[in-house]
């Protein structure tokens, strides 16, 4: 069996076991946490010699398969809130379109990349630390009787979202909420995702957990559903506008990632909610530290190919 395969758009030959392995690992995280994995896969692909623009676009293509597989697996487990997912998606598409315009203006003003990176690091640090500490407290409290839960309902945020019009019941999530909330939050995530150049899964998950108060297992399935549609849009746009989707690379990655996503989805049901959150928090913090090093340590070469996340 040949160990190398040539990628027609990347114009680079890659070792089959490495690409399949990368796909598997990222798919596993995708199924486990409901994140697309773009923020992790693209740098890994660049490390094995794939041009950044091709890495980012082909990654979106493979996330379509991984998230389709993951969404299907979570759907069978009853973990997808389609109603919530559609509202978030509509908000995300509107926010994403606006985000593209914002980033264009920022780039014209100069130094947009720095702003993006700093936003990224601050957000990841905030989300990662908050999620980690909160989950740790949750795990500790589990051993004793939980008493503090009712206090949350009295917060200003809770009163605010309860006062919004068109309150509707989201059966799968077991919550009553105005559609304005997921539309608005979906829009915000869309803006951030467009500015950062990623699918937004790892921002969407904390938003669903902490702001929409959805149960973690439903969050994962619903996030994957939303990521699926975002990446379908990105793949078609990248193939049409930039000719950067390497179908062969995506196919190899998705073979690995769909296996990984299925195993991840099963693992997610075996872990406790707070355990899942802690693992995701650690992943988010690891990415944050890597980005921070990238900002502070001198680069190996001041020149880098234009493109990528």
């Amino acid at each position: 069996m040949p160990w190398y395969i040539y990628l027609p758009i990347a114009q680079h030959s890659v070792a089959l076991p490495i690409v399949l392995g990368l796909g598997f690992i990222v798919g596993l995280l995708s199924g486990l946490f409901g994140v697309g994995g773009g923020f992790l896969m693209t740098p890994l692909l660049i490390m094995i010699g794939i041009p950044p623009t091709v890495a980012a676009a082909s990654d979106s293509n493979q996330i379509v398969a991984a998230s389709a597989s993951g969404t299907y697996a979570h759907y069978r487990l009853g973990n997808v809130d389609f109603k919530m997912g559609i509202y978030l998606l509509i908000g995300g598409v509107i926010g994403g379109t606006g985000g593209v315009q914002i980033i264009r203006v920022l780039r014209q003003m100069g130094n947009a990349d720095f702003l993006i990176m700093i936003t990224y690091v601050v957000m990841l640090a905030f989300v990662g630390f908050y999620m980690f500490i909160e989950s740790l407290q949750g795990l500790r409290a589990e051993k004793t009787v939980q008493k503090a839960a009712p206090a949350k309902s009295a917060s200003i945020y809770s009163r605010l979202i309860q006062s919004l019009p068109f309150q509707t019941r989201f059966e799968k999530s077991g919550i009553v909420l105005s559609p304005v909330v997921p539309l608005f939050l979906g829009g915000l995530v869309g803006i951030l995702a467009a500015i950062m150049g990623v699918g937004g899964g790892f921002i969407m998950v904390p938003v669903m957990v902490y702001l929409l108060r959805m149960p973690m297992h439903v969050v994962v399935g619903t996030s994957l559903f939303q990521v699926l549609f975002t990446c379908i849009d990105v793949t078609i746009m990248q193939a049409y506008s930039n000719r950067t989707v390497d179908f062969v690379l995506a196919l190899l990655l998705l073979i690995g990632s769909t296996f990984g996503a299925q195993i991840g989805a099963r693992l997610s049901t075996k872990l406790k909610e707070d355990q899942l959150k802690i693992f995701l928090a650690l992943l988010v913090l690891a990415v944050m530290v890597k980005m921070l090093f990238g900002l502070v340590l001198p680069p190996h070469n001041l020149l880098s190919f234009h493109g990528g996340h």
Binding site: I9, V64, S69, Y72, N111, F247, V248, N301, F305
Partner: protein, 255 residues
């Protein structure tokens, strides 16, 4: 009569030989031979060795250059602002070869000799058009060469040309170079420059065609000429594969 038949047969043989010759003639130009004649990039391409050979008079040496098709590349340039490294400018390099290899007959002193005669990466600036918003062109070129060397696409290799006695009394030279895994299709120029006592005496050039074949060519054509269809197909196959994998795993787990 017999002579006439022999002469006719000879003419037929020569004609057939000439008719069959173009492929062979295409690979040897002015006494420089390359093997293979055409390099195919297929599905399982992982680099391939190309051999360059020919003859030189005794006492003369050969330096070989392999120059890939000219490319246009865009780059980000990082700079330090306060404690942070961030993108501070853009650069565009037009005309730099996608791949470059300089194969020398000896050690480091040959690199200096070749450079003095316009060969090698030092002289790249003569053929490249540079547009940079934040750093001088020479610094940019140095970074570019470093980047390409890291990718294995730019190489300067000493002691890479070997010699043996030729039948005609001169020397037969030979150099083998393994094209990297990230080779792209196009026409590669192979130059053999002959030196006698440190003076350039002769330049010979031949062309190597590198082309995509089979499935790789099909995908490339589709992605280039039918972009929307290609994008939709990529999504459809991803969805199909995701669904198939989902079905394959069906029943493997439960709440």
């Amino acid at each position: 009569m017999r002579r006439l038949i022999h002469l006719t047969l000879l003419l037929v043989c020569v004609s057939l030989g000439l008719a069959a010759a173009p492929a062979a003639w295409a690979v040897q130009s002015d006494g420089v031979f390359i093997h293979p004649e055409v390099m195919d990039i297929g599905t399982f391409y992982s680099g391939e060795v190309v051999t360059v050979s020919g003859e030189v008079p005794n006492g003369q040496d050969v330096v070989i250059e392999i120059i890939g098709p000219a490319a246009n590349d865009q780059f980000n340039i990082k700079g330090k602002v306060g404690p942070f490294w961030m993108t501070q400018g853009k650069a565009e390099l037009d005309g730099a070869p996608a791949m470059y290899a300089l194969l020398l007959p000896g050690g480091p002193q040959w690199l200096q000799k070749a450079s003095a005669h316009g060969l090698g990466l030092e002289n790249l600036k003569n053929s490249v058009k540079i547009q940079s918003t934040s750093i001088p062109a020479d610094d940019l070129l140095e970074m570019f060469v470093k980047l390409k060397k890291d990718q294995g696409l730019y190489v300067e290799k000493g002691n890479a040309v070997t010699y043996e006695a030729a039948d005609g009394g001169g020397r037969r030279f030979s150099a083998a170079y393994r094209f990297p895994r990230s080779t792209s299709a196009g026409r590669y120029s192979i130059n053999a420059t002959t030196f006698a006592d440190g003076v350039k005496t002769r330049e010979r050039t031949t062309l190597l065609t590198v082309k995509e074949v089979g499935f790789i060519r099909l995908v490339d054509n589709l992605a280039t000429n039918r972009r929307l269809a290609y994008g939709v197909m990529a999504v459809a196959i991803a969805l199909f594969t995701g669904a198939v994998m989902g079905l394959l795993f069906k029943g493997g787990g439960s709440h």
